[in-house]
Amino acid sequence: MSAETIEKKPAEALLSKRRKKLVTDPLIDDNPVTIQVLGICSALAVTTQMKPTLVMAIAVIFVIVMSNFLISLMRNTIPSRVRIIVQLAVVATLVTLVNEVLKAFAYDMYKELSVFVGLIITNCIVMGRLEAFALGNKPYDSILDGFGSALGYSWIILTVAFFRELLGSGAVFGIPIYDYISGLFGPDFQLATNGLMVSPVGAFMVLGLLIWVQRTKTGYVEH
């Protein structure tokens, strides 16, 4: 894992090779969802449509990046005996902030997502990155690491949501693709939507297939 502290070098490039790896590694090779199998609960729950999923992804990116940054700033002052509760307090505060902002500016999204946004607190990716990386690394590196992990999570849930919304509701981002296609071929041609995709079972299937495809490509095997 990337937990080991990196020895100090004078003036490392802002986006050196090592730092790029911090961002790109969690996208495919060390993806938090498909490889580490973290954050599954929300990946299954919010992904019926693209729009709430996108909001969720942005919220998670914000929370992971900010908490990684803050914990990394405080890493030398946090007493190790209470570090978990300190991390939890910081994460919970950030999540509450996100929830309050949603409530003020996107009330419809708030109604739909507030349960799941609250559950970001327990998303293992957040605490996992804090424990494994932010506690032992500098703030800038921690921001990159958090951003990478959050992007890894985001693209997976957006992909799942794309297939679930397309197959389950015949739409993408609320745009009725199926209606459009039927319109091209005349009224007799109707594409049927699959109700299974709207239920959590559909998410399991899409996510399972995604993990399968990805692991076939990368050759990753669990030991």
Partner: protein
């Protein structure tokens, strides 16, 4: 030093205070905007009982407010159907009545707002009477609005909302497909008793012949029961008002 109890306690206290200030500050700053958002959402729900969700979704917040102001009039009544304009020296308007808070009081003390959907510019020409609903679902509160047509018997439409019903099961009460099942049903039976409309157990049967029954939601029997109780209770609370309107409208048609 960092492991000493004094350090840990000091650290925790400072962290708590800083985070607490941050949160209360945010809540103070965003509070007015959140209130506005909630008020707007409430108006959308009220309008949802008489016009379709797509129409509402297409409106900007400003349009929703304008539409609401030009088409909805409101009164507040008590259990005996009498209009209430002030309570304990404070003026009462339908928009200031919190249904959830009133729900905790005994039925006789509650305030009951009525929203009257009328033709544009003429509050006399009522088209629908919209009554709020509130009750318990499976996990948490459920609420909504039911619109009665001017015969005070036919359901013109219903909106239902929930705090925490199971997604895919009880949470389906918010779907237009479920809410449309109520349209055109009647709440009084032939002998003039208030029977409301009951959602049945199971799903997929045709209840179009029965004026008091609608198709259920598979796997959400307890939420459906909650909806039934809520509807029956609240129509009961408004019965005096409904009877008043009924007799006055039948006089008017004579």
């Amino acid at each position: 030093m960092q492991q000493s109890n004094t350090y840990i306690i000091t650290f925790s206290v400072i962290l708590t205070v800083v985070l607490g200030l941050l949160l209360s500050g945010t809540s103070q700053v965003l509070g007015p905007m959140q209130k506005e958002a909630i008020a707007l959402d409430n108006k959308k729900q009220i309008l949802g009982a008489v016009i379709s969700g797509e129409e509402i979704a297409a409106m900007t917040p400003q349009e929703v407010n304008d539409y609401y102001n030009s088409r909805i009039a409101s009164v507040v009544v008590d259990l005996s159907g009498k209009e209430v304009t002030e309570r304990e020296g404070v003026a009462v308007t339908a928009e200031t009545v919190d249904i959830a808070k009133n729900y905790k009081k005994p039925a006789e003390e509650r305030l009951y707002p009525v929203y009257i959907y009328h033709a544009e510019g003429s509050p006399e020409a009522a088209e629908n009477y919209i009554l709020p609903l509130y009750g318990a679902g499976l996990w948490d509160a459920i609420w909504g609005y039911v619109a009665l047509e001017t015969d005070m018997n036919t359901v013109g439409g219903i909106t239902l909302a929930h705090a925490g019903e199971t997604p895919g099961l009880g949470a389906r009460i918010t779907e237009p497909g479920v809410q449309q099942r109520y349209e055109g049903k009647t709440i009084y039976n032939e002998s003039g008793e208030l029977v409301a409309v009951e959602m049945q157990k199971g799903e997929g049967k045709d209840y179009s012949d029965d004026p008091h029954q609608v198709d259920g939601m598979s796997g959400a029997t307890i939420t459906a029961k909650g909806v039934n109780n809520m509807l029956k209770n609240y129509l009961g609370y408004y019965e005096a008002y409904i009877e008043n309107k009924k007799s006055s409208s039948s006089v008017a048609t004579l």
